[in-house]
Amino acid sequence: MANAKAKVDAVIVGMGWTGAILAKELTDAGLHVVVLERGADRDTQPDFAYPKVVDELEGSVHRRYLQSLAQETVTVRHNLTSTAVPYRQMGSFKPGTGVGGAGSHWSGCHFRALPEDFKLRSNVEQRYGASFIPSDMSIQDFPVSYEDLEPHFDHFEYVCGTSGKAGVISGVKQAGGNPFEGSRSREFPLGPNPNYLGAEMFYKGAREMGWDPYPIPASNASAPYVNPYSCQMGPCNACGFCSDYGCLNYSKASPNISILPVLRQRKNFELRTHAQVLKVNLDSDGKKATGVTYLDAQGREVEQQADLVLLCAFSLYNVHLMLLSGIGKPYDPQTGEGTIGRNYSYQNLNRVVLFFGKEVQANQFIGIGGAGTTMDNLNGNQLDNAKAGFVGGGIIWARQPGAGPVRGINVPPGTPNWGTAWKQAASDAFRHSFYFEVQGACMSYKQHYLSLDPTYKDGFGRPLLRMNFDWHDNEIKASQYLVGKALEMSKVLNPTAMAGDAKKSGEHYNITKYQSTHTCGGAIMGSDPKTSALNRYLQSWDVHNVFAIGANAFPQNNGYNPTGMVGALAYWSAKAIREQYLKNPGPLVQA
């Protein structure tokens, strides 16, 4: 190829959370690392600087900080027989682009999975028998344990200045934290953020229900902080432009402020932006990657050779690149064979809105992305699944990332959409309502998977990724059960009106409605190469010098936001590369 760059030790695709973590760890190990990022370079100054960053029209309508769908998107269908259509306008999930990835415009809810989440299938079988799991449900145990990841959860929280309250330290319960969490080695780096009204009322409602509320661990700094890489954070000022927006204040942990300041100084680190990776190149027998091909800013095809290829392009795009490059065998839902695309899952998100009178100052325009109050009494082993009638639990929370009128004003159901009545309702509700959310787990199923679309192409002529997904009865039941509990709790708070959007039976996945960017699975980790794309170190079973880091590795999704787990897995994988792979390149687990 005309444009071939000198071979490097490692090439990383994507400069979001996982790319930054891997780049840090591998440059620490002395490797020469090149990161290829499809979007622009970005930093707090000038890209997230006040006041321009808080322009709601640009942030929430033009979606200035998110990926444009013009070049790359996915197609979606509900079942195996229908024709998928493109995700044309941003709705259900919002991938990022540019340096920092979605990690620059996330909210900051920073959870660890529960110990029992790691062994979901065996835990459910043990508690309720194998027949309790529906026959099409393809949930699996993670091939790692909570204990394996504890040091990495801990380190990532310290990198992020996560603000929270520990519930269990070295096996000892701590007042004010989550009594059901896995044991931590130490307290959070920072104490919890202050409570806005909804978070405070959640304590009252939850306690009356007999639950154990605790502060949501939030990577929005509650106080000045210096992380282990000497990167500095300032206290969050509750600006109310957190989700979808870059932080104006060095308060929300992001690759940009928490890791890149160190990387940018390093001679063995090179960041190339506007570098769209098209595929991973394999050697003639397909067992080893030789590097990647990308389009540079001028639209030229460039080949970057490397000993190691790390896919850090976000869960969906990692799977897309694997399918396009012929890494592993594509999953076939008819035969159950193949692994790439298998076990796609999502998040079961629902909302309850509470409306109050003028005397209640809910002030939803105040917001701290990840902070608020939640509880685990209906999650993990706390929930009696046999009684509830579904697999997987969830959490209910009060979280207030900040509301503004362009982002939408919730009005009581039955309100007209326009005219004087709408104006009155919007004016009445804006400062005097808030919401609770129900974030449910989402199981994986044989028929929910990712593949290449047979028809639609992206701006580079490659087939789009096709998402085969719909709500299963199990998740619909979970939604109804958990929203029911949230409404029950909300009643205690005496709202003047309230509304909940539990999924109705037979309801289909709606791609127009934002639910979360927690797209999981598709290239999952496991202990059997027949049913997983990656081994326990996120290394491809098929091409040993390719690692795919991200939520694509989750065999199914739990009731929490994914990034705490994604970061921990990234550090776990990096450790294996540094301590094992570099000494002896080859499969780290024998198939």
Binding site: D55, V61, V406, Q439
Partner: protein, 249 residues
């Protein structure tokens, strides 16, 4: 996370799928006049023919034609009228916003996937058409005006009475109005969405003059610093809005 979303489909979804569980009847408490701007009620509604609302300033449309502009001014006035609750869309410059917004890459489909084939799909899959926002508004306005002229002896939408305009908008909202070239519902949702965007976005985009819409709902605008107010419960947030240029409302 369910971050608030601005898509018309999303709003439609929220409105339809939230089941009301009344606990106490919603008290119809008035707005405290100290915090919220009040504007005199418009009495135009009683008039048999709509009194054309006047656009503030001397803005001359550069995207919309005079006919389209007349339609938009009338439609803005129906969708967000000037009344006792607060200022209307026309008086806050929403037509100017629309004219300017249509000239952005966004309105040209800049962030949407616009490749074919264009298949019909269930509403859960959202917009699957090939028109960008500009075209949707333009084609929709033309179609409604044509319908109006045909049904009301040659009168364009802007020349109808307020009641007739409201009826037409309602039947477009429900999709009952059958138009050549475009789904009336698609047009209506995009129009309403854009009118709301203009009403509530920063004044630098052309609407929300003097932050009138923010004052009405009590939004402090672009202050983006509430550290000292997170835990205050006993009094309403006291400060007026500021906009992106740093002006105070």
């Amino acid at each position: 996370m369910f971050d608030d979303d601005t898509s018309p489909a999303r709003r439609d979804f929220l409105r339809k799928s939230l089941t009301l569980i009344p606990v106490v009847t919603l008290a119809s408490a008035g707005l405290p006049s100290s915090t919220f701007a009040q504007t005199p009620a418009s009495d135009a509604k009683q008039a048999s023919t709509a009194v054309p609302a006047t656009v503030p300033g001397d803005y001359k449309p550069t995207f919309f034609t005079p006919e389209e502009w007349a339609f938009l001014v009338a439609a803005c006035d129906r969708l967000i009228p000037s009344d006792q609750v607060g200022p209307g869309a026309v008086e806050l410059g929403v037509p100017e916003f629309l004219d300017r917004h249509m000239q952005t890459p966004y309105a040209n489909g800049g962030i949407w996937y616009m490749q074919g084939p264009f298949l019909e799909a269930a509403p859960e899959f959202g917009y699957q058409g090939r028109l960008n926002l500009r075209e949707t508004l333009r084609i929709g306005i033309k179609a409604i005006d044509a319908y109006s002229k045909k049904s009301f002896s040659g009168k364009a939408f802007a020349e109808l009475s307020q009641a007739q305009q409201e009826d037409l908008l309602k039947s477009a909202e429900s999709g009952k109005l059958v138009l050549d070239d475009i789904s009336s519902k698609l047009f209506f949702t995009n129009l309403l969405n854009e009118v709301r965007n203009g009403y509530f976005a920063d004044p630098s985009h052309g609407g929300n003059k003097n932050m009138g819409a923010w004052k009405m709902i009590g939004y402090p605008g672009m202050r983006a610093d509430y550290m000292d107010w997170i835990t205050v419960r006993d009094k309403p947030y006291p400060l007026p809005p500021v906009d992106l240029s740093g002006r105070r409302g």
